[in-house]
Symmetry: C2
Subunit: 364 residues, 2 copies
């Protein structure tokens, strides 16, 4: 039943494989031996939730292939994706004396992947890193594409680098231990790919949400592969987000603001993105870019996923201030990713504050 | 008299100009207008020594070309090239709300250039930056090539990025206000280019050190241009130091150790590199790679420059420990850059601890 799926993300001399296979965690050591034939040591970075579940298994797989391993366990959660935790990680890398050719492994969700990727990009001006994502969100989105970062009190992901992993190793079996809330948050990112570039995939998700939520093995491997392919295609076309890659941020301008205004404590990233996507859909309708009914279709799919669809209440100036710090802004204009229909997204620079005022009022 | 010299460092879509011209500081605004036609704002980062001398002039030049400027003034000196100062700088960038397309200017020596470059590489995952080097060392070496970093208590330049500036703007006139000690430290880097790849340039420096030290306008512009060309050629051949670029680190393995063991307080970087180069030369002779007399020739030129040639005393284990954290190391071997003769350097991986023991003893 366990089919190996492989997608090669081709970025010239920074090309890498995305390997998806149920039960593949125990083969990580040999895969890394093949990828890094000269390295002897590596460091595993995980968090307090994932380490008790999978660290021993990963260490075992590495030792089997003759890796000398060290590990660091960081606190869990977006609230810890900050300069303090990152400094701890840098200190651990320094203490390890890992050389320029010895890889570091991110074993965890998006927070671990983002922080480890950024640390790997800076330590000795860059060492190899491997993504071993353990949440659905990380498996379908954040582990692929090389966006790494930490948060700043003034904004999410404001300090970081474009730095590609050298291998992405996905074992869908680890989702069995994932909290259902995390699973749902990850599904929000699956839905995003449908919305921005693949109406057929959106329809597939509408039809099969039950199977996905129950982690049907074939189906989950399929949607992970499909999502990674979408992500990889976009990244290959526009690695540093000069154009098309911005579309991946659908729901993120509002979503990041929601996370920031609730201090990264009330919503998971995927949950905030779902709420932000509802807002982007309504704004698309309000401005006449999309026909009415789009928001309702999206809401219906989120509801099938049991994702929260209630937009939290803030004043217009709170929204604008929180969004003013978003990275996607060019000059002083806030950029929004809007939809024309399911499967067609675009960047809109012409939204004015009054439009946001109307939008925010409509949710109150 | 003031000849404009231009060298284009060709790194594909990251190509940039190195512009060398006496009195050119007052034209920076227009040059940046041409380089960044769409940006309106920029941020100038300088230090407590350089800002009183040149910040007003640079601001004037920018305002003349309709730039909206902000500035940050950091403490001066290698001892401040650390996580604390860098965090202050990141906070200032966040507070500025500078967008992804608005540049930051490094107005100062190598420390400012390194920190600003690293900050520019991380802020919003990368914004443009401009080097306006005000020390000889920065003008002939650190402002070109995109090595950016801060120090960690366990080693120099251990946290950083390869991140190229989008313009290097060199006005040799600013050297008139440079402390003579800083000028000499910069000359150590000039001498380095002669030693690693240009015996003729070494001979030129031997003949003309007096003119250089007196800042003869034609001569100083010439040596800056020559050095930038050497640096650029090496960087174009090997941007991320997989091979040839490592030769630029002649004297740096020992030099970084000296800086680290003296807590970045006793020697300027160039001074430490000069001492490190003497050690590398003696080691080259000791191991039979170079004929005897090499060290003496190098010492003589340093003495003409009035550079300190006294190697500080530490135990072998202090040396090895301090060098063990150098970035150039691959695996657990310490890599040394050695000389065959003036103009010919190479990377040597086969130096053993006993060789260092002999070397260190010979200086005691």
């Amino acid at each position: 039943m366990s089919h190996e799926k492989l997608y090669r993300l081709d970025l010239g001399d920074r090309a890498y494989d995305i390997h998806i296979e149920a039960g593949s965690l125990c083969q990580l050591g040999y895969a890394m031996r093949a990828r890094f034939p000269k390295a002897k040591r590596c460091m595993i970075v995980s968090n307090t939730v994932v380490a008790p579940l999978y660290l021993a298994q990963v260490e075992g797989a590495l030792h089997e292939a003759n890796w000398d391993t060290q590990s660091v366990i960081l606190p869990d959660g977006e609230v810890h994706k900050n300069m303090t935790t990152w400094t701890t990680l840098m200190d651990a890398l320094m203490a390890s004396k890992l050389s320029r050719t010895e890889p570091v492994i991110a074993l965890g969700g998006g927070v671990i992947g983002d922080m480890v990727g950024f640390a790997a990009s800076c330590y000795r001006r860059g060492i190899p890193f491997v993504q071993v994502p353990t949440t659905l969100l990380a498996q379908v989105d954040s582990s692929v594409g090389g966006k790494t970062a930490i948060n700043h009190p003034h904004g999410k992901n404001m300090i970081g680098a474009f730095y590609q992993p050298q291998l992405v190793w996905i074992d869908p079996c680890v989702l069995q231990t994932l909290a259902i809330r995390e699973l749902r948050a990850g599904i929000a990112e699956l839905i995003k790919y449908g919305l921005i570039r693949d109406a057929e995939f959106f329809a597939f998700l509408q039809r099969n949400m039950k199977g996905i939520l129950s982690l049907d093995a074939t189906m989950i491997a399929d949607v992970i592969y499909h999502s990674c392919r979408h992500k990889a295609e976009v990244v290959m076309a526009d690695e540093t987000e000069q154009g098309e890659r911005a579309l991946l941020n659908l729901g993120h301008t509002f979503g990041h603001a929601i996370e920031s205004m609730t201090h990264y404590q009330r919503y998971l990233h995927g949950e905030a993105v779902a709420l932000g996507t509802i807002m982007a859909a309504r704004l698309s309708e309000q401005l006449g870019f999309a026909e009415s009914g789009l928001e309702m279709r999206i809401r219906a799919l989120y509801r099938n996923t049991a994702l929260d669809v209630e937009i939290p209440t803030f004043t217009v100036s709170e929204w604008l201030d929180a969004m003013g710090h978003d990275k996607k802004n060019v000059g002083s204009t806030i950029r929004y990713i809007l939809l024309r229909e399911v499967g067609v997204a675009f960047v809109c620079d012409s939204v004015c504050d009054a439009d946001i005022d109307t939008l925010v009022q409509s949710f109150q």
